[in-house]
């Protein structure tokens, strides 16, 4: 059972890593539009249009002069 003293912290490290990835993906806006990708995947006839530059994420959004 000694190994649990190593495995448990290790498991926590894995958890935190994935949590950080999840936070990054959310801030990046990857969960903002969950409808179009499921449609886009059906357009299998040719190459998918190249991705546009990502929208500025809210963390570093520039206010537009308006």
């Amino acid at each position: 059972m000694i190994v649990i003293y190593l495995l448990l912290p290790l498991a926590l490290v894995v958890t935190v890593t994935f949590l950080i990835l999840f936070v990054w993906a959310t801030r990046d806006g990857q969960f903002d539009d969950v409808r179009t990708p499921q449609i886009r995947v059906m357009f299998d006839d040719d190459h998918v249009p190249p991705a546009t530059p990502k929208e500025p994420s809210p963390t570093r959004v520039e206010r537009k002069p308006s």
Binding site: T26, T36, A51, T52
Partner: protein, 840 residues
Amino acid sequence: MAAPRSSQPNDQRPDRVCEHCGLPVPGNRAPNAEGLYFCCGGCEAVYGVIRTAGLDRYYDLRLDDQNRPALPAAPSGSSFAQFDDPTFQAAHVKPQGDLGLIDLYVEGVHCTACVWLIEKLPQLVPGVVSVRLDFGRSVAQVLFDPDQIRLSEIAARLDAFGYTPHPFRAADRRTLRRREEHRLLIRLGVAGAAAGNVMLIAVALYAGAGEDPGVAHLFRWVSMLVTVPAVLWAGIPFFRGAWAGLRARTLHMDVPVSLALIGATASSSVHTLLGRGDVYFDSVAMLTFLLLLARWLQVRALRAASDASELLLSLTPSRARIVEADGSVREVAVDGVLTGQVVEVRAGESIPVDGVVVQGQSRIDNALLTGEPLPVEIAIGSEVNAGAQNVSARVRVRVTATGENTRVGRLLQAVSEAQRRRAPIVRLADRVASYFVLGVLLLAGISAALWWGHGPEIVTARVVAMLVVTCPCALGLATPLALAHALGLAARRGIFVKGADTVEALAHVTNVVLDKTGTLTHGRVTLTAFDGSDELLTRVAVLETHSSHPFALALVSAAPRDARRLDVDEVVDTVGGGVQGRVEGDRMIVGSPTFIAQQVGEIGSEWRSRIQAVAARGASPVLVMVGGRIAALAVFEDPLRADSAAAVAALRRLRLDLEISSGDHPTAVEQVARAVGIAASAAHGAVSPEGKLGHIERLTEQGRDVAMIGDGANDAAALAAARVGIAVRGGAELSLATADVFLTHPGLMPAVELIRGCRAALGVVRRNLGLSLVYNLITASLALAGWIGPLLAAVLMPISSLVVVLSSILSRPFPRARAGSQPEPAAHPGQSASEREVVA
């Protein structure tokens, strides 16, 4: 007297559907050279372009999506010149190196094939680098090369396909809302990660790992380190809600939730530090996760509506053209226009200010303000209001009021005032929760008293066990889940509900006030009777192609399309009167009875009585003169929607009191009331926007729960004042912005389904609340008896949540979409931009 021969303008061949949009083909349209049928010229042109570019796959994709409403390609025909204006570009285009990026809200996106076609734009238009369309919001992100193509050309191309683009204006609001949504999602993720891991540790503990004191100690410490920060941070929305509730002296759901979370976390932490006693970390973490999940689902379900109302901002005019003293025209933001200046309004644009016409004459469509479906004539000296649509020609207007001082601005103020005055809705779940909190506190007190003799340690253990098992997790899940489920099903049927409270309010509605124009009727004129030959109708139509009056458009689309070209010359279009000209050598005049009377001096008594009969039933008569003799009478009406009568009957079956309140002429209103089966005494005509508002407020004072169903901005204040405001498709932007619900499918039937669905959804909420209360009663008795430990709590809690989740998800507040619920096709292919669906 010749029997008037009915000439149905939307007489359709049921066996023919448009090759492009799939709508029925009007009977009078001939096939093209390849023998294919189209519902309108727009569709035919688009079909040609798509075929030529080798993008036929559009039509295959479209077949996958049969249950989506079809829309004909109806280009707005705008020039989009303002898209090239430097100030416009500075405001909306984000430079990306040499390229430009712009967010465009595109109207008319309704199916998979639309996504495909719009994203294929780079293949059709050189200079466009890429297009990404967000289907849910109809916002396209276009990356283009400004050196190769002008933005206006891109916009015109999209428009030609029937996707009218508008600059996306709600970017700031969207960013704010997105940030909030991101935060909630991250909280959910953190709570979920903590719950998952702590559960694993707890299972190991319960399975016997705790027998080794060292391992048990480690497990408890790790659980605490994971749970405490996760719960304290992820649970902030609940703590904040509870605090706000306490300060407002109300006990709502967040109070018992926070009590359980904090109580259990604190006592478990103390027990961990002391090294003895029970810990509830797994239950606490799971609780937080499930409650956040319910909250998040609810936010998701409401998002569809807020997305759609944000897009509406993109449709309102934000720019005006100022005419300088030297005669030059400069485009500025509406905020920069001053009283006394002169602005230019081109045909097809919205008037941005209140003012007086100083140059030009035209027709304006006041439907936004008055609900009047027919455009009115304006000339020098006429007053015009912001928000009206300039239909036919360019005019210049001296500004008398801008912004908040315009009539629309004052109306909007009335709207926000009405919203403020409206009593807040006390939700069923919150009412239950306030009793619940008292009950839990009482039980905890009894529990403490019962176990008082067993020492402080046992007492705290019992009280904490009581708090944990009675935590209203199921109660907290019950309402949001049932509502989110109902809202999601509604959105799939084109019904967008903006607030969760609305579902409950709708279920309690007792009175329904209906608007006429655009709600019960189509909101645009159609030729309903013509007592001349087809030959004559064709001639009239050919003459009328030279006019932009709505009667002219209705005539043209009703006439049989003849391949033969007719010679027309000497055409004179008299604004406010009619059109005259020479067709195939015959002198013809088509115009209003007054105009014809001016031309011939006197109209025969037989014609006069017929004209009076037509006017008496609320329709508009137009006379046709050939060679100095009156030859035919054309009757124009705003026809009833096909489903209006059925919907009114269905509403009545729901035991609702129905009334009509309209700005239109009382005779016309009574006529419609009779046709749909509403008593003439409940049909009010010639009601001003303020009058509608007053009427709703009077009903509310009498203790009735009123739902208002309307479409125009003249309904906006009434929509806001009513307990529930429902805006129907084709409505003015203003009414959509203030309504609690809006329907994107035409007709009233969705409103009926909505009220029925809300009643069913409230039933599910009640069932859920009942289930969770019974469950809590049982567990509370167990806790009182001292039989609940951490293990039993961890097992019981998810079971109650599961029961509620299943009860919500298995319910069907809205019947499944049937083939018969297809939206009715538009009567005219060339409808206005606002008439097209706002949200797919």
